[in-house]
Amino acid sequence: MGVRWALTKNQNTEENEEITHFPMCALTLVAVITRIFYLIVIDTPETENSGWLSVLFGAALSLPAVISAYFLMKKNDSSLETGACKAIGKAGFRFLCLVISLALTYETSALFTILTSSGAYATLYNTHKLLLLVPTSLAVIYACTKGGNGIGGAAEVWIRIYIILYAVILFLEYNTMNASNIFPIFGPGARSLLKSAVSVMMYYCLIPVSFLIESGYSVKGRGIHKRIKPESILLVFLLCVLITTALLVIHSMMYPSLTLTSIKRSAGMDLMLSNGRSNRTVQLPILIIWFSSLALSSGYMLFCAGRLMNKALSESGRKCMFLLGMVSMVIALFRLSGQERAVRFSACFGPFLSSAFFLLAFFYIVRKKG
């Protein structure tokens, strides 16, 4: 008999597809805040220094979806999935999961594109994007297959690093911050702000999606499966709104408004990642936050997409994550998730997702009364 490790076969992999309370909340916070911040700063620079208002408008628009999800959780013992199944049936729920999963696959590819573009912009000017895209995608796919609590735990660790790095940024930029930069409050006008608010809506609607895939934890010896409290969804939503708004206000105070410049991604990148007007020393923490938060957000999108596909098709979550990750890579490779397409997609999918959660609550009430 030879030497073998004293572990049973699936001892460490059985919980790999699960994600529990704190990791899920931390990952959602990082992903939603990052995505909205980059949407405003990089993808829609036409909002100028009033992007934080778009965030608030977007929050107001997505509030019905969040409250609907809260209502469904409250009525179904903290299980959003049970509530959704009761509202539209198992088949309808599976279809909804499939649609959201495909949308998040596209969003993953948009994040791969932003990540590789900013990597190329800030670091590797002469490198072909393919050479950046492949390792980036493989790294994110690998991270997702390490499990929800792995990537969620990493988000918890990175949140603490972000707080320290952000404190460094504020310390270094304290003297250059100018409150007058945020004026006029309505900057480019309400029309532009509302337009980007519709795109913002999509990312706030990802909060209920996170609660859809949260798996809870079991209590040994009692047969109890503990789920997250419904109130947590409101708390996460509130934190996302407050932190994103605060970050954008601080960002607006750091840099003067970008009026009359290119509305391409490079304009925002130039402002944040190159020498430009940014302090040289401050770029190091900014770059670290930039790359890591985008990597975590890509991981979040891919993990959600995989878990939802797993719910829709009852296939292994890890297999789904791997396949969807490869699909995202191919979409990014063919440049089908560039800035304009990504913004247009979020502007369309945001209202869809918001109304989907609202309708779930509506059908739930109708069925219950019926």
């Binding site: 950046l132 690998y142 988000a155 079991s218």
Partner: protein, 500 residues
Amino acid sequence: MPDFFYSESEVLRLTPRKTLEENKACLSAIFHLPDNMDVIVKKFDSFGFSAMIVYIEGLVDTEKLSECVMKPLIDAKEEKNVLPKDRISFIKTDVLYATQVSEAETFLDISREILSGICVLFIDECEQALFIDLRKMPHRPVNRTNNESVVLGSQEGFVENLRMNISLIRKNLRTTQLVTEIIDVGSENKTKAAIMYVKNVTDEHIVDEARRRLKSISAKTLIGTGQIQQLIEDHPLSLFPQILQTERPDRAAAGLSEGQFAILTDNSPYALLGPSTIFHFLHASDDSFMRWQYGTFVRFIRIMGILFSLLLPGMYIALTQFHSHLLPMNLLSSIAEARANVPFSILGEILFMEFAFHLINEAGTRIPSQIGSALGIVGALILGQAAVTANIASPILIIIVAITGLGNFVIPSYALSIGLQIYRLIILFAGAMFGLYGIVLALFLITVSVCSMRSFGAPYVSPLAPKRSGKGDVILRMPFGFKRAKAFFEKKVGEEKTDA
């Protein structure tokens, strides 16, 4: 030539035979007698019947053997009233002075006990044998620790004797709740291992799992805790150690009182503590012996040292090759000047110096202490000063490699420090290929991989990630008054989380 012949495999299943000749034949088959000369078989007469004692020379206290066993047996007068079947119990209760005496069952037990230093007494016409514990294993006395030195606190370290190590822990933890289970580990050459835990503090599920893993080890030979550690940890392919190895009885006692279990083995001066989180590997014993402000400061320095050790070479190459605009102009120009005559790329230069540093480090571990000073001369003069003079390395790189090395030495766990050295190389290559982008991507993967790990079911980065309630002694060394009493993996009253 004996009249009986047994093969080794069949004899192990047998119980002691009726005649001494048969028993001797069995022992000859097992121990390859008479070739094996340190196995002593002595025949003598006692109480009018023949007896035979078997032991291994050097493992038994021969003075005690002659005083407590041989003398009372040989000096005895004939006792006609004792029936053959009662001889063993008579000798056990009325004759022998030795205190630890028990009866043997099979030759498998007999062979194991003889190998562990026990004497076995066979009596003619008795189908039984007696184990007499007169062990006197050679071992060094309790001494100072070699690898976990502390400024404040106890200086005692474990030794290579299991019994001594157990008593060292018991000396530190005087509670009736402390339980010691002895398990034979390994398939052929069994090693005695002790699993120690505190009842009502250590979670039973964790102890059950540790016991199960120990029992399922199928290695033929196990020498020491190092092998056991590799065979029972959750992620054998990971670069991070998941079971803390300590040579300090006070640290083992502290771990036990916080809900960890300890595994000790014969012939190993270390205890294995599990479940262990990454923070157990970053804490040193004297953190708790100092005032909380000093302890926190020292921990902060240690964490900075670890970060330098992990990131400095990678960051140097990334900043100089890809992000030179992030460096102040004065520094950039001095780096360029210093490197002007160096013929290698920055990566080649770093790899050369890193290799030289690892060589010195490894040589320092193996070199006899009498010629240790020569190593200092080689390290300081030849690889430092001479490398700069010969334009093989730039002075700034020498500083970077030196700080990196110092940072590595502040890590209290040797296993973790080696793991981080390998990660440092990975980050170095990531930085050389993709600059900061590569470094952040590598750090992202390392954090995900570390956060997904577990040690006997306990998340490896908890209570930080996933967040868990419990003792908050993680980065800051909190004042004792503010500390929560329980670690997150300790036994909870009523309920307990099974996953993260």
